[in-house]
Subunit: 416 residues, 2 copies
Amino acid sequence: MHDNIRIDGGRLWSSLMEMAEFGATPKGGVCRISFTEEDRQARNLFTKWCEGAGLSVSVDKFGNMFGRRAGRNPDLAPVMVGSHLDSQPTGGKYDGAYGVLAGLEILRCLNDAGIETERPIEVVNWTNEEGAILKPMIGSEVYTGALPLEDAYAMATPDGTAESGLDQIGYKGTVDLWSYPVHSYFEAYIEQGPILEENELQVGVVTGAFTQQWYNLKFTGLEAHAGPTPMASRRDALVGASEAVLAIREIAQSIDGGRGTVGCITPFPASPNVIPGIVDMTVDFRHETEEALAEMTARFEARVPEIAKANKLEFELVPTVTIARVPFHPTLVGYVRSAAETLGVGHMDIVSGAGHDACHMAKVIPTTMVFIPCENGISHNELESATPEDCEAGCNVMCQAVLGAANMTDDLEFPA
Amino acid sequence: MHDNIRIDGGRLWSSLMEMAEFGATPKGGVCRISFTEEDRQARNLFTKWCEGAGLSVSVDKFGNMFGRRAGRNPDLAPVMVGSHLDSQPTGGKYDGAYGVLAGLEILRCLNDAGIETERPIEVVNWTNEEGAILKPMIGSEVYTGALPLEDAYAMATPDGTAESGLDQIGYKGTVDLWSYPVHSYFEAYIEQGPILEENELQVGVVTGAFTQQWYNLKFTGLEAHAGPTPMASRRDALVGASEAVLAIREIAQSIDGGRGTVGCITPFPASPNVIPGIVDMTVDFRHETEEALAEMTARFEARVPEIAKANKLEFELVPTVTIARVPFHPTLVGYVRSAAETLGVGHMDIVSGAGHDACHMAKVIPTTMVFIPCENGISHNELESATPEDCEAGCNVMCQAVLGAANMTDDLEFPA
């Protein structure tokens, strides 16, 4: 119906660059961790932009922000579109910010064209997606009821709790979580992998997301002097941890499409001439299918005791984050695919290797995502890069899909 | 001449226990890092005890402390006996403190027996032996002229510099370093290894110390998102670092008597779902012979580039601390061996796996050490334990050897 509508790629790009100034790093990336001054500034700018676009802005009790553009029929549940403005400690300009600002650009574009939709459309900024503090995707997890608000408030940050963090930046809102029905949720994102680029395509039609299992793993041996302690007498926790790092790589490599990562490793007491007595580490396994993930984690859980025994160590292996395989809503996936076809944008179906707020939303309402390429597949890195052309193409595709949903008067079947 | 002299084992033990109250940890160990309040308190108590024993106390410009008991002939260079009062972050009660307090006990015992020696005897407490901050054995290194005072002053601590640290605890003294000749140096120590205990002997006659080579090793890859980045595309610095940890173990295990340790490992950016782009680590190799150490380090230096290449990483390998094989003075070693025989204390010759202040002293004056067993060979650990009987036996042996040196009117040939 509005096939001729095009978003303003230049405006979208300018917004991305302006937002990237908050937490800008010398290497061209962004460090905008939740509950910091940079987070506050980014939220303030987003509020200003929403108000400038005539949106009514609300903030819920966990700091999730919503900018609503009214629909023709105030009784219809809104379509939601967005992502997050927080970043990794050494993150890039596009991870999260692209989804929020593409949502904002769609609403600005509808304003410019004077287009009314049946349903309201809301652009959303979720609190703390990255998990650089707390755990990842906590804003949408709390919003969807998967995590009680009081539990989330109580979670420790380097300076206090999530609640005190929200208070500190002035974004502990008053609106109850998920206090009104939502029709559907869309999220645009950089792929954070190399597949679209390798296929020279501008858009990924995201059919679902990887299942994930995270752990905290602790090895305990005995700290002792590095000089007089013979190799055979040692109970070196770092040797065990190193064997675990390599076992995780080996397991992930042996399963087609598997991922296995150790991001954090902390030895104790961390003195150059003391054999580490304790090592704490994080473990992250992912796969497209539940079956393959289960095979990886079973092999890993069997290997850890072997590694501990061989090195005379104790171990504690605690599952932390568990994310089920997420299928996106076939009707919305179809909208995205059709939009790409209609607009003549090169596209392919793809499964997300990363978790996203969309994964929490997909459990409770019809949801889908749109991917665009990022240079060399690099993300969670200051080198993260996307082109203005791809940002524009992805936003145009999402604009058509969002319009399709916003003009549906019926609810979608859910689960599909 | 004074074969019947015996130190007071109960007083020595009480002094050890009282000193261990400064920085006492709940697990029974000691955390007494240089330039902290605990260090200051320990130094104050040592001063009080020295003054109580009639010793004249002086502090040099790097905070090294000397308590002198006059000799019959003020023109003769003193015999020095001591060690250090600082500890590892999770250290024990005996490492360092035993050597200082055994030295003090010998002087108290000579006072009680009314024995005059030809030479003065000085008990010494060296500044910052452990290397928990700065580098290890820096007090004796500065004292012996191996490190210029200004360079040592300028070294960074968590709170400032070594100079500001000394100022802060009030132990930046006024006495020039090594401002008078010293005849010989003795140091008593727990073995920090399992050999004496395994042989059921009370004293190790230390003939020298291991040669050491330390490095800082950095691997640089590319931080990237743990989910969408296929295993084959990764440049994971922690995988390289883990291979290095295991290579170091393998190299040290393959050389009889070799030691290889990674005490510190720090990934960057250290987020659970980010592949580490940088890892910094410390490396510590040791052996009794220069030849074997050279073989270990050559193999290691050849392996690091292979590991980097195989994992598509860059690396920087920087040698830091280098300690040559230290032979102790055969005359003094003979005094210790004879004393053990005369006193009927079970003993064996042994080589120190750890570095000690004695290793710096041995380069400039005749030096030796006396070892006593520690439980299970555990040191640099809060579980570190030694028996009152072994502490007493080691101190009695050292007392006889020190008396031998303190009654020599001639200098020893040096180098021997």
